[in-house]
């Protein structure tokens, strides 16, 4: 259900977003870019995919995020035997007060503002499709009846790049539904020390909710109001086009290792995430730096790499970096102008 939103000013937006990040930082040590990526998805109402080896705090991050915002939270642990109805919900036969029996729809865990889809690649494609359809349509159809999902609706999925046996990697079309994909890096030594201190001592300060659904709705609405200059939109397009090996602006690495470039959703993801990033940085307009900052998260899972990339150990991140090098920051295009 979409509730009418109260306007929020950019300062409050930045303040609340900063509070959310601070609350998460109470639990999650370091990983500032990862946290920022998740928050961007939250404020842009886009779905996030977190990929990392077990034990790096992916689930903990999303759980903490749900604690920092006062919204409905649902969690689904994806397993091979998970059925679509386990996610979307199903019709169950119930007795009413008059003793009559009738089918009642029992909502699945997807009926929440924030859904944690843990190890999403372990479910069967059928279950994945049900989940991803709900992500795209923001509604669920059961027994011929379409039921809208609550707004805001965000899916935060995780997947483990290891233990691939018995998993069902998400196809490209379904990966494209995630606005951003974040790689969860291994913590630094200092961060690990901090993690050890926090997790082996007394319980730390509890995470408090700093935003409710209404506030989140207002923030999401303001995110979409951030203006973007035309040359910056063009820059986002240029970045996406450069991921296509058949484009003249594509760098050599893309021509060699990429089979298919980003879909148009890549442009949408870049621009929308950059808007949130601009507000988080305290600016009312998008800058080229915002676009380029989110480009890696927005494009890394939208490129289909060839076997040459795997053979040469080239990652999607390497290719996005090549794209960023090939597409310079938009300038005046006049000799002598700063670049």
């Amino acid at each position: 259900m979409t509730a009418p939103t109260e306007p929020i000013d950019p300062a409050a937006y930045a303040r609340i977003a900063d509070a959310i990040e601070s609350e998460i930082a109470k639990v999650i040590v370091g990983q500032r870019d990862l946290v920022r990526t998740v928050v961007l998805c939250l404020l842009a109402e886009g779905h996030a995919l977190l990929e990392g080896v077990p034990g790096l705090g992916k689930t903990m991050l999303l759980k903490t995020l749900s604690d920092a915002i006062d919204v409905d939270f649902g969690r689904v642990q994806f397993t091979p035997d998970l059925m679509p109805a386990d996610i979307t919900g199903t019709q169950v036969l119930e007795d009413d007060d008059q003793g009559r029996r009738r089918f009642e729809f029992q909502e699945g865990p997807i009926f929440a503002n924030l859904v944690l889809a843990d190890e999403v690649n372990r479910a069967t494609p059928k279950t994945q499709s049900a989940m991803l359809e709900a992500m795209q349509e923001r509604s669920v159809t059961v027994a011929g009846q379409t039921r809208p999902l609550p707004r805001p609706f965000l899916v935060m999925a995780t997947q483990n790049p290891l233990e691939m046996e018995g998993t069902y990697p998400l196809p490209e079309a379904q990966l494209d539904r995630f606005m951003l994909k974040a790689q969860v890096p291994f913590p630094t030594a200092d961060d690990l020390v901090e993690v050890a201190q926090r997790t082996t001592g007394a319980a730390g300060a509890p995470v408090r909710a700093v935003a409710d659904v209404a506030t989140l709705q207002s923030m999401i609405a303001l995110t979409r109001e951030v203006p973007v200059a035309s040359h910056l939109l063009r820059h986002a397009v240029d970045l996406v086009l450069a991921t296509h090996p058949d484009q003249p602006t594509a760098p050599d690495a893309v021509r060699r290792y990429v089979r298919f470039g980003s879909s148009p959703r890549g442009v949408q993801a870049i621009v929308l995430a950059a808007k949130a990033q601009a507000l988080l940085e305290g600016r009312p307009n998008v800058s080229a730096e915002d676009l380029r900052w989110v480009a890696t998260s927005a494009l890394r899972h939208r490129m289909v790499l060839g076997y040459e990339a795997t053979a040469d150990g080239v990652t999607a991140e390497d290719l996005v970096a090549a794209v960023l090098d090939a597409v310079p920051v938009p300038s005046a295009e006049i000799r002598g102008a700063p670049r």
Binding site: P7, P10, E225, A229, P284, I334, G336, A337
Partner: protein
């Protein structure tokens, strides 16, 4: 960040500070474009300029350095002009300023949203206005690039090489002098041609030669090689010289003498204003009208004229003699035909003389032009080589080759008194050039030996009844008249060296005092003066004065 109430819509699109900054930044951006382009091109342009200057030290073409600096300044000017006119939109300026000021595209976004509305538009404008207080120099910083340093180093090298002096300068100066000499030569030739053409007494042939000389001057004007110009002049002189014959003076004396003789004493039926040929034709037509005595007198006159023409105009003389003979024989028709031939021969001789004189005038004009050009060159050359060739032994062996040219002009006139009047006139003209040897003998002494002399032999015939002091027939003592020349020796100057300069010449060393009619002397002197006037050393104004003098004497 200063908050702006959401929903507060802008009422007026205005970015005064931002626009002012962008306008100033645009000028700065043009400067930056110029500076960066100079950095990019300076090494190449300066290298090209340096190469040209270096080429100027290798070759003598005088425009190398100027071209080098022209390339340099021209490139700078072109770049400056392009920088001033290269189209730069405010949107471009805003993007550049955003990069330079690190304003995160606030200026470009605000400029684009100047007329837009939205919850964050006022925020964007306010942020842009805050950022726009910066200086344009901060927005567009200028950097000294490696290209600037390289270009500057090359330019300095170019300037130093230019200032350091060029070994080619002497050659260039020589080439310039040579070109100036050619120009002077052409100008002098043009002046001479104009003088010849504008001379009021110039003949048609002389004007034609003047036109040819002007054409030659125009051709020389196009040359830059003095030697080639001299060769052209030499060739022209040779061509003109070829048109002249050795006996020009005698030919002229004969034709002019006939004209003047008949002018002074016309033939029967002729008038003083008629030319000699016309008088001959006239008398040829009127022979039948003459009586015996008149025919006899005419025959005698024609014989005298034939004798006078024998040396210079043999064809005329032959025709006149034939006419006299036939007249004496009473063959009027033959005499008439012979007179006609004489008239034709005289015309041909006169034309030939005019042509030769024109050629001579042209030759003199060329010589004068060369002299004028060479004098100018001499002034430029300074002191020249004073020591000469050294082997001049002072042997002025002036043996006087006796280029004596005797001109005899005899004229017998019948004045209708039945009295022969003859004037014997001998004119000796000899010139011996005793080799102008010049050499250094005993140090700085120089000697010049020359011999000059002449031998004149006049075989004047006739009886002169002119006596000195006769008021009716004024006479004048002519030292050259009726004398036999003698051999003379003209010694050279012995300056004590090993060689002795000796000049030998033949010339009249003794004269018999002879009184000749004043008219004859005047005619002769006038003739000499006329020849003298042909020398280019006499200014034109003085030539006219001399002619006027003799005209006045003749009239009196």
């Amino acid at each position: 960040m200063r908050g702006v109430p959401v929903g507060d819509r802008p009422t007026a699109a205005s970015l005064p500070t931002t626009r002012a900054l962008l306008l100033a930044t645009r000028r700065r951006l043009r400067l930056a474009w110029f500076v960066e382009t100079v950095a990019m091109l300076a090494p190449f342009v300066a290298a090209a300029s340096l190469l040209l200057v270096l080429a100027g030290r290798r070759w003598s073409w005088p425009w190398f350095e100027a071209t080098g600096f022209g390339v340099l300044t021209g490139a700078l000017l072109v770049l400056a002009v392009v920088a001033a006119v290269v189209p730069i939109s405010l949107a471009q300026v805003a993007r550049a300023a955003d990069r330079g000021l690190d304003t995160h595209d606030a200026l470009a976004t605000a400029l684009e949203l100047e007329d837009a509305a939205g919850p964050l538009v006022l925020e964007v404008r306010a942020r842009a206005e805050q950022a726009a207080v910066a200086e344009p120099s901060a927005a567009i910083p200028l950097h000294l690039r490696r290209g600037h340093r390289m270009g500057a180093a090359l330019v300095v090298a170019t300037v130093l090489l230019t200032v350091a002096g060029n070994p080619q300068e002497d050659r260039r100066a020589a080439a310039a002098d040579e070109e100036a000499a050619v120009d002077d030569l052409a100008e002098a030739l043009r002046d001479e041609a104009a003088e010849l053409r504008d001379d009021p007494e110039a003949t048609e042939q002389e004007r034609a030669v003047a036109a040819e000389l002007e054409q030659l001057a125009a051709e020389i004007d196009q040359l830059s090689d003095l030697e080639e110009a001299e060769q052209r002049l030499t060739a022209a002189q040779a061509e003109l010289e070829a048109q002249q014959q050795s006996g020009l003076l005698s030919q002229k004396a004969a034709t002019v003498g006939l004209e003047r003789g008949l002018e002074a004493d016309p033939l029967p039926g002729g008038a003083p204003g008629d030319g000699a040929a016309a008088q001959l034709e006239q008398v040829a037509d009127e022979l039948a009208d003459l009586d015996e005595a008149e025919r006899a007198a005419l025959a005698e006159r024609l014989e005298a004229l034939a004798a006078a023409q024998a040396a210079g105009a043999p064809s005329t003389a032959a025709a006149l003699a034939d006419a006299a003979a036939r007249l004496g024989e009473g063959d009027l028709a033959g005499a008439s035909a012979a007179l006609g031939e004489a008239a034709s021969a005289h015309r041909a001789a006169s034309d030939g003389v005019a042509n030769q004189e024109a050629a001579a005038a042209g030759q003199r004009a060329i010589a004068d032009a060369r002299a004028s050009g060479s004098s100018g060159e001499g002034q430029g050359d300074g002191d020249g080589d004073g020591d000469g060739d050294g082997d001049g032994d002072g042997d002025g062996d002036g043996d006087g080759d006796g280029q004596g040219e005797g001109e005899g002009q005899g004229e017998g006139e019948g004045q209708g008194e039945g009295e022969g009047q003859g004037s014997g006139q001998g004119q000796g003209q000899g010139q011996g050039s005793g080799g102008g040897g010049q050499g250094q003998v005993g140090g700085n002494q120089s000697t010049t030996g020359s011999g000059q002399g002449g031998q004149g032999t006049a075989d004047g015939t006739g009886n002169s009844n002119v006596q000195p002091g006769d008021p009716a027939n004024p006479s004048i003592w002519d030292p050259n008249a009726g004398t036999d020349g003698e051999q003379i020796d003209v010694d050279g100057t012995d300056v004590g060296g090993e060689q002795v300069t000796t000049g030998l010449g033949d010339g009249p060393t003794a004269t018999t005092g002879a009184h000749v009619p004043l008219g004859d002397a005047l005619t002769r002197y006038r003739e000499r003066a006329t020849r003298a006037l042909d020398q280019s050393s006499i200014p034109p104004s003085l030539r006219a004065l001399v002619r006027a003098y003799f005209d006045a004497l003749a009239a009196s």
